[in-house]
C-alpha cells in the first residue's frame, strides 16, 4: 500500500501524477475518452503500470490513495445535462433564478443584440408555497402544509428527478424548509432534494437559490458517476482511499460528495494554486505570493496565492449560474491556443472569444481549420517547433498557419505573416494581462510584488511577456507545469467547509449566540475530520465571518484568528482586522459599526506524505544543451532573427540561460525575451528573472 495516484480528467487529456514509495513524483498524460470518464482513467492507470512494469491490478492493490478531479459536475451544468429538477420557492418569488442580480458582463455592456439567458430551472418546474419568514426569523405567514403536499403532487406529475427548496429568509429561520424536507420524504420518498439553508446558508435569495438548484440537480448524476467510478476502481483492485477534489481545492471522501455534489463545481482547476504553493515549499522559498496561470487550448485560468494562502470566494460561476459555495477563486477567460484572430473595419485586431477548439482546430493542425489562431501565430513567429508539438505527437503545418494569418490579419494591415503573428500574440497577451489585472485589483493586490507560476501547454509561450507587461520580476515554471492541477490534487489536504448564518453587529454584539454558533461549527468540522479518520495532530480548523460596515450591502470574508470571541478586547481585534481589510481593498475605513451575517469553518486534515522529488532516471545534464537555433519574430529584436534553443530535458541545474532564447520542454516551450535570465533548479523547475526597465 504505497503508491498514491492523483488524476485530473480534462476534455482532451487525462493528467496523472504518481507518487512512488520513495517520494519520487512523476507525471503522465493519457487521452481522455469523452463520455466514458472511467475508461480514460483506467487507460491512464495502465500507462503507469506499464511504465512500472507491473500488472494494473497489482499496482492498484498497492495504491494507498486515489484522488480524482472530475469535470462531471461542471460539464453537466455547462451542457445542461443535469437532472430534471423542480424548485420550491416562497409564493410570489418564482422568478428569482430568472432575474439573477441584473447587470451585464463588461464584454456585453454595449451589445443590445443578445438573448436574455434562461433560468437554471425553467419556470414551469418552479412552484411557490404559501409561507413567509421575515429578516429577523419571525414568521409572517405560517407554512401551509396542505399547499406543500399539493405542490409535491404536481412535482411528481411533472416527473422531476430532484427537488430544490429555497425559501426567503430560511437562513434566519429554517423551520419551514425543514418541514418541507420532511414532507418530501413522506410524499415523494425517492426524490433526492436539497434545502437552501443547508446547501449555502448565505444572504441574497438569488445566490442561495441558484446554489440549491444546482446541488439538487446534480444529485442523481453525481451519485451515479461517483458510484460507477468507485465500483470500477474497486473491481480493478483498488483497496485504498478514494477521494475527490472539491471547489475548495481540497479532497474529500467520495461519500461526502454525493451528499453535496455542488462541491464538485470546478473540481480540477481548483487544485492548481495548491500545486504552486507546494512547489514553493519544495523550492525552499521563504515567501509565497504568486499569480498562477494555466493555459490550454480553449481557456486561460488565473488564481492567486497571497502570503501562502489561497483566497476563496463565494462568487464562483459556471455558465452564468452562481454556485455560491466557498471555492478557490479561479478566473477563466476564453483565451487559448484555439482563439481566433480577426481585424475589424477600422483596422484593429481582436483575438477571441471565438475559438477553433480542437476540432477543426488551428489552421496548422491540418484538420480543416482555416482561420488564424493563437497557436498558428506562435508557430509562425517561430516559438513552436513544427516537428515537436504536444510531446512530438503531432506535426504542424507552417504553410497553413502562414496562409491563414496572411489572409485574416496580415493583408488587412499590410503586415507580413510574421509581423501579423506577433500582433496576434500581443493582442492575446493583452487580454490575459487585463484578466490578471481584474482579479488582482479586486483583491487589492499589486502584481509587481508577485511571482507568476505557469502551467498548461501554452502558458510558457506567453508567461514572460505577460509578466513583463504587468511589471512582475519573476516567472516560475514548475517541473509539473504540464499537469499542474493533477499535481495540486496529489498534494492537497482533506478539506470541507461548514457555514451558519447569524446576524449581529459590533455595537450590540451577541457573544452568547456567536460563540454557540462557532461551537456548533467546531462540532461540524471535528465530526467531518472524524469521518475522514484524520489524526489529532493533523487537524486544522480555520474560522471566518462575513462582515460589512453598517449601511453597506456587500460583505467581505474576514478570517478569524480563533474559534471564539469572548470579550470586548477580542472583538476589538476582529474589528481592527476588518478595518485593515476594507482599507486594503477600497482605500477607506469607517467609524460605523461592523455587521456580521454569517460564520464559517474550514475543516482541514493535513496529509503529510514526505518530500517529493522529481528527478528522472538520468540526473546529469549539460551546461547548455543546444538544439538547432530557430528563426523567430520578436519586435524587441527588431523583427526576424535567429535565437538559440535549449533542450530543457538535458539542462543542468544552476546554469544561467540568457534571453533571447527558447527552452523546449516535453509539453511546453518557454519563450525568453531579451533582458531575462532563466535557471533550472535541482527539482527541474525553471525560474525566469525579468529585468524591468
Amino acid at each position: 500500500m504505497t503508491y498514491q495516484i492523483a488524476v485530473d480528467v480534462g476534455g482532451t487529456f487525462t493528467d496523472l501524477v504518481l507518487r512512488e514509495p520513495t517520494g519520487r513524483t512523476r507525471s503522465f498524460k493519457s487521452p481522455s475518452t469523452p463520455g466514458q470518464i472511467v475508461e480514460g482513467i483506467l487507460n491512464g492507470v495502465s500507462l503507469i503500470s506499464e511504465k512500472l512494469g507491473i500488472e494494473r491490478r497489482e499496482f492498484l492493490e498497492q495504491c494507498s490513495k486515489f484522488s480524482c478531479g472530475t469535470t462531471v459536475a461542471t460539464n453537466a451544468i455547462l451542457e445542461g445535462t443535469y437532472a430534471r429538477t423542480g424548485l420550491i420557492t416562497t409564493e410570489g418569488f418564482r422568478d428569482t433564478l430568472l432575474i439573477r442580480e441584473g447587470g451585464k458582463a463588461d464584454a456585453d455592456a454595449i451589445n443590445i443584440a443578445m438573448d436574455y439567458p434562461a433560468p437554471y430551472i425553467p419556470r414551469h418546474l418552479t412552484l411557490g408555497v404559501r409561507e413567509r419568514v421575515n429578516s429577523d426569523g419571525g414568521i409572517e405567514l405560517m407554512l401551509d402544509e396542505a399547499h406543500v403536499v399539493e405542490v409535491l403532487q404536481r412535482m411528481k406529475q411533472l416527473e422531476v428527478e430532484a427537488i430544490a427548496v429555497a425559501l426567503l429568509w430560511s437562513i434566519a429561520n429554517p423551520s419551514h424548509e425543514l418541514r418541507i424536507g420532511e414532507l418530501i420524504e413522506e410524499h415523494a420518498p425517492n426524490i433526492p432534494y436539497s434545502l437552501s439553508h443547508r446547501t449555502s446558508p448565505t444572504l441574497r435569495e438569488y445566490r442561495r437559490t441558484s446554489a440549491t438548484a444546482i446541488d439538487a440537480s446534480l444529485k442523481p448524476l453525481v451519485t451515479r458517476a461517483v458510484s460507477e467510478l468507485e465500483r470500477r476502481l474497486r473491481e480493478e483492485g483498488l483497496k485504498g482511499l478514494l477521494t475527490l477534489v472539491t471547489s475548495s481545492g481540497g479532497q474529500t471522501l467520495s461519500s461526502e460528495v454525493m451528499e453535496r455534489p455542488i462541491n464538485l463545481c470546478l473540481s480540477g482547476p481548483s487544485a492548481a494554486p495548491e500545486a504552486a504553493r507546494n512547489m514553493f515549499y519544495i523550492e525552499g522559498e521563504t515567501s509565497c505570493d504568486a499569480i498562477v496561470v494555466d493555459m490550454g487550448g480553449t481557456s486561460f485560468d488565473i488564481s492567486i496565492i497571497h502570503d501562502w494562502k489561497i483566497p476563496m470566494h463565494r462568487e464562483g460561476i459556471i455558465a452564468g449560474h452562481i454556485f455560491g459555495v466557498p471555492s478557490v477563486e479561479v478566473k477563466t477567460i476564453g483565451s487559448g491556443g484555439g482563439s481566433i484572430a480577426r481585424v475589424d473595419a477600422g483596422g484593429f485586431i481582436h483575438v477571441g472569444p471565438e475559438s477553433a477548439r480542437s476540432i477543426p482546430g488551428p489552421a496548422c493542425y491540418g484538420r480543416g481549420g482555416v482561420r488564424a489562431t493563437v497557436t498558428d501565430a506562435n508557430l509562425v513567429r517561430g516559438f513552436l517547433d513544427p516537428a515537436n508539438f504536444a510531446g512530438g505527437t503531432m506535426t504542424l503545418s507552417v504553410e497553413n498557419a502562414e496562409g491563414a494569418i496572411q489572409q485574416d490579419v496580415g493583408s488587412f494591415l499590410s503586415l507580413s505573416a510574421k509581423e501579423a503573428a506577433s500582433l496576434i500574440g500581443l493582442a492575446v497577451e493583452q487580454d490575459m494581462v487585463a484578466a490578471i489585472e481584474e482579479i488582482t485589483i479586486r483583491r487589492g493586490i499589486d502584481p509587481r510584488e508577485y511571482v507568476m507560476v505557469v502551467g498548461g501547454a501554452a502558458a510558457g509561450l506567453h508567461a514572460v511577456a505577460i509578466a513583463r507587461e504587468l511589471g512582475m520580476k519573476k516567472v516560475f515554471v514548475p517541473p509539473i507545469a504540464g499537469v499542474l492541477s493533477a499535481y495540486g490534487i496529489s498534494v492537497s489536504s482533506m478539506k470541507s467547509g461548514f457555514s451558519r448564518s447569524l446576524a449581529t453587529a459590533t455595537d450590540n454584539f451577541n457573544y452568547e449566540r456567536v460563540n454557540a454558533t462557532l461551537e456548533a461549527l467546531e462540532k461540524d468540522g471535528l465530526a467531518y475530520l472524524d469521518r475522514m479518520n484524520i489524526p489529532e495532530g493533523s487537524r486544522v480548523l480555520q474560522y471566518s465571518t462575513e462582515a460589512r460596515y453598517r449601511g453597506q450591502v456587500w460583505q467581505l470574508s474576514l478570517a478569524l484568528e480563533k474559534g471564539r470571541i469572548n470579550n470586548g478586547d477580542e472583538l476589538a481585534k476582529v474589528l481592527e482586522s476588518f478595518h485593515d481589510l476594507h482599507d486594503k481593498l477600497y482605500f477607506v475605513r469607517s467609524n460605523d459599526p461592523v455587521e456580521f451575517t454569517e460564520w464559517s469553518v474550514m475543516a482541514i486534515g493535513e496529509m503529510s506524505s514526505g518530500r517529493p522529488y522529481f528527478g528522472g532516471d538520468d540526473q546529469d545534464g549539460a551546461d547548455a544543451p543546444e538544439k538547432p537555433s530557430r528563426q523567430v519574430h520578436m519586435r524587441e529584436l527588431g523583427g526576424e532573427c535567429e535565437i538559440p534553443v535549449y533542450d530543457g530535458t538535458r539542462l543542468k541545474p544552476g546554469v544561467l540561460i540568457k534571453g533571447p532564447a527558447l527552452i523546449d520542454q516535453p509539453l511546453t516551450t518557454i519563450v525568453l525575451y531579451p533582458s531575462t535570465v532563466a535557471t533550472l533548479t535541482s527539482n527541474g523547475g525553471v525560474w525566469v528573472e525579468i529585468q524591468q526597465q
Binding site: G102, I110, P122, H124, S135, G347, F412, S422, S590
Partner: protein, 602 residues
C-alpha cells in the same frame, strides 16, 4: 468577410498597430480600476446595490476614450464636465485640485448625480481629466427623493454645486463639504459616498501619470489622436451600411401638466447619410421647457442621441469622441427635449423623457428598414423602484432614505431577440443591478410580498418585448414614505413593424380593508403598516407581427405562465390545449387560425 483593405492605422514610428493594442487595453484597465475603487465602498443603496455610477476620462482636448463601461446616460456627454472646469477656471487649475459639479447648467446630468473631476498634469501641463459620477440617495433635495418631476424650477431642486473646487492640494475644501453636509439629510452617508467617488478620480490620476511615465507622453498623445481616428473610421463604416433616408416621428409621453392635457409630444427627425458617413438627429421641433422636473439637460439629450445611434451601429464601434463626431445633434435651448433655459427644472432629466427619447430614436431606424432598430422599452420607473424614507425602529429610530431597484425590467424587442428582461431603461440598458429582496428587507423596515413576472405584459411580436414585474411592498413597523417617478400610464412602450405595445404601468395603494386606489404617475405617499403598494411594471414593445412568432416559443411562454392561453390564441394565433395537465401545441388549429390573418404575415 468583405473587409476593404486599408493602410496601417497610423504612419510614423510613434504609434503602430502594436502600440494601439497595448494602450487601448491600458486605458480600459485604468477605467476598470477607477470603477473598482468606487464599487462596494459607497453607502447609499443606489450606489452599492445598483452600481448607479460611472467612471470616465478625457484628454486635454476633452476627448473621451472609452465609455463602454459606464451607464450610457452618464457617460454619453461626459466631456461637458471638464469643459465646464476649463471654462470657469481657465489658467487657475493646479495639480491637487478636484472639482465638484451637480449643476444641469454646467454640463451635469441632473442634480442627484454628484460628479467629481480631477485635472491630471503631465510634464507641467494638463494631459487628462478623470471623472467619476455617482447617483446619490440624497443630494439635498427639499423632499427626500432624488427625482422631483413636479419641481417648477431649479430653485425647487435643492443644493447646487455649480462646478466648484472641492479639493485643493489634495485636501478637502472644508467649507464646501460643510455646505453639503448642512443640506443633506444623511450627512455621514454623503461623506462616505464622496470619499468613494474621490477614490475613483484619484486612482485614475495616479494610474494615468504612471502610464505617461512608462510610455512617454508624446507616444500617448499620438495614440490619443490615432484612437479617435480609428473610432471615427469604425463609425463611418457602420453608417455606410445603413439605408439612406430621412424620417420624422412623433411619440406621446404621459403628461402631468395642463399645458398638454393629452400628452407631451416628443419629436425627432433622423437623417442618415451613408455616403458621407453621418447620422443627424434633429430635436429642434420639440415643446418649450415645461414647468416640471422632467426637462432634459444638454448632457442627457446628447447622451441619449449617442446611445441610441451607437446602439444601432453595433458593439464593435468604440464609444468615444471619435465615433460621436459622426452623430450630429441639433437641439434648441429652451426645449424640454434639448438644452434647458435657466431656470427650468431638470431633476428627472436622466429618467422620464430620457427613457422615452432613446428607444424613440431607435424605433425610427426600425421604421426605416426591416431588421433595423428596436421597439420601445420601459419609460419611467415602476412603483417597485421607489425612493423610500422614514425611521427604522430596528436601529433606534434612525432616519433612512434610499432608492431600491426591483423589477426594473421591460426591455424592447429587436429583430432576432426578445427584449432583455432586466433592461430598466435606455439610460442604463441592463447595466444596473437589481436589488436582492433579502438585502432590501434587511436595510429597510419593509416587506416585499411579491416580485414576479406580470403575465401578458410584454409587447407581443415576432420578437416579444420583455415583461414588467408585479411587485407588492408594505411597511413593517412604522409609516414609510414612497416617492415614485413613473410614466407609461396612458402611453405604454410601443411596438414597431407590426409589434404591439407592452402593458401600461400601474401603481395602486391597497388599504387595510382590501380597497385599492390608483396612485398618480408621480407618487408621494406615506403608507402605514397594514397598507401595501402594488406595482405593475410596463413591458417593452414587440418587434414584427405576433402572427410570425414561432409557435413553439409561444407554447413555452404559456407553459411558463408568462402569457395566457387566450393571448396565445387571440394575439399570436397559436392554439394550445391542456392535455393531462400539460399544455401542448395544436399545430393544425394554429395553422388554420393563422391562415385567417394573412395580411399580418407580411
Amino acid at each position: 468577410m468583405n473587409l476593404v483593405k486599408h493602410e496601417r492605422i497610423v504612419d510614423g514610428a510613434d504609434v503602430d498597430v502594436f502600440t494601439m493594442v497595448v494602450l487601448r487595453r491600458r486605458f480600459e484597465g485604468i477605467i476598470r480600476e477607477m470603477i473598482n475603487a468606487l464599487f462596494k465602498s459607497g453607502r447609499s443603496g443606489v450606489l452599492n446595490t445598483a452600481m448607479d455610477f460611472s467612471c470616465s476620462l478625457t484628454d486635454a482636448k476633452f476627448r473621451s476614450i472609452s465609455l463602454s463601461q459606464g451607464l450610457p446616460v452618464h457617460v454619453g456627454a461626459i466631456d461637458l464636465i471638464p469643459r465646464a472646469v476649463a471654462a470657469k477656471f481657465g489658467g487657475d487649475i493646479l495639480p491637487g485640485d478636484c472639482f465638484a459639479n451637480n449643476s444641469p447648467y454646467m454640463g451635469n446630468t441632473h442634480c442627484a448625480d454628484l460628479t467629481l473631476c480631477v485635472p491630471v498634469f503631465v510634464e507641467g501641463e494638463i494631459a487628462f481629466y478623470t471623472i467619476a459620477r455617482a447617483h446619490l440617495g440624497d443630494m439635498g433635495f427639499p423632499s427626500p427623493t432624488t427625482y422631483a418631476p413636479h419641481s417648477f424650477d431649479v430653485y425647487e431642486e435643492g443644493l447646487m454645486l455649480p462646478c466648484v473646487r472641492i479639493q485643493k492640494d489634495n485636501r478637502d475644501v472644508s467649507e464646501v463639504i460643510d455646505i453639503c453636509k448642512a443640506n443633506i439629510r444623511v450627512p455621514e452617508q454623503f461623506y462616505g459616498d464622496y470619499l468613494a467617488v474621490l477614490a475613483a478620480v484619484r486612482t485614475g490620476e495616479a494610474r494615468l501619470t504612471a502610464l505617461c511615465q512608462k510610455y512617454g507622453f508624446p507616444k500617448i498623445k499620438s495614440f490619443l489622436d490615432a484612437f479617435q481616428d480609428y473610432a471615427e473610421r469604425m463609425a463611418v463604416t457602420a453608417i455606410g451600411k445603413l439605408p439612406k433616408g430621412r424620417l420624422t416621428k412623433e411619440m406621446m409621453y404621459d403628461s402631468e401638466t395642463d399645458l398638454y392635457p393629452e400628452g407631451i409630444p416628443i419629436r425627432a427627425t433622423i437623417d442618415v447619410d451613408p455616403a458621407e458617413g453621418y447620422v443627424t438627429v434633429d430635436l429642434r421641433d420639440n415643446v418649450d421647457n415645461l414647468p416640471l422636473g422632467i426637462n432634459m439637460t444638454e448632457s442627457t439629450t446628447l447622451a441619449s442621441c449617442m446611445t441610441a445611434v451607437l446602439n444601432i451601429l453595433g458593439p464593435d464601434v468604440p464609444r468615444c469622441t471619435g465615433s460621436f463626431k459622426r452623430v450630429k445633434v441639433l437641439m434648441r435651448e429652451g426645449a424640454a427635449v434639448g438644452k434647458p433655459r435657466f431656470p427650468a427644472a431638470t431633476s428627472a432629466a436622466t429618467t422620464n423623457l430620457c427613457h422615452a427619447l432613446i428607444p424613440h430614436l431607435q424605433s425610427i431606424f426600425a421604421d426605416m428598414e426591416a431588421g433595423l432598430g428596436t421597439a420601445y422599452g420601459s419609460i419611467g420607473m415602476p412603483g417597485s423602484c421607489p425612493v423610500i424614507s422614514g425611521v427604522d425602529p430596528r436601529h433606534g429610530g434612525k432616519n433612512f432614505v434610499n432608492q431600491i431597484i426591483m423589477g426594473y425590467w421591460g426591455g424592447p424587442a429587436m429583430h432576432g431577440h426578445d427584449g432583455w428582461l432586466t433592461y430598466g431603461s435606455g439610460g442604463s440598458q441592463g447595466l444596473l443591478l437589481q436589488s436582492s429582496v433579502e438585502v432590501v428587507e434587511q436595510q429597510q423596515p419593509i416587506i416585499v410580498e411579491k416580485l414576479e413576472i406580470r403575465p401578458d405584459s410584454g409587447g407581443a411580436g415576432e420578437w416579444e418585448g420583455a415583461p414588467g414585474a408585479r411587485c407588492v411592498i408594505r411597511p413593517r413597523f412604522a409609516p414609510v414614505r414612497f416617492m415614485i417617478n413613473s410614466a407609461s400610464r396612458k402611453y405604454p412602450p410601443q411596438g414597431v413593424r407590426g409589434g404591439l405595445p407592452g402593458a401600461c404601468m400601474n401603481i395602486r395603494r391597497i388599504k387595510e380593508n382590501g380597497d385599492a386606489e390608483d396612485l398618480p404617475i408621480t407618487t408621494d405617499v406615506v403608507l402605514s403598516p397594514g397598507e401595501k403598494i402594488l406595482s405593475e411594471g410596463c413591458g417593452g414593445g414587440g418587434y414584427g407581427s405576433p402572427i410570425r412568432r414561432d409557435p413553439v416559443l409561444v407554447l413555452a411562454s404559456v407553459r411558463a405562465g408568462r402569457i395566457s392561453p387566450e393571448r396565445a390564441r387571440e394575439i399570436y394565433g397559436v392554439v394550445v390545449r391542456d392535455e393531462e395537465e400539460q399544455w401542448i401545441l395544436d399545430a393544425k388549429a394554429t395553422e388554420i387560425l393563422r391562415a385567417k390573418r394573412p395580411g399580418e404575415n407580411a
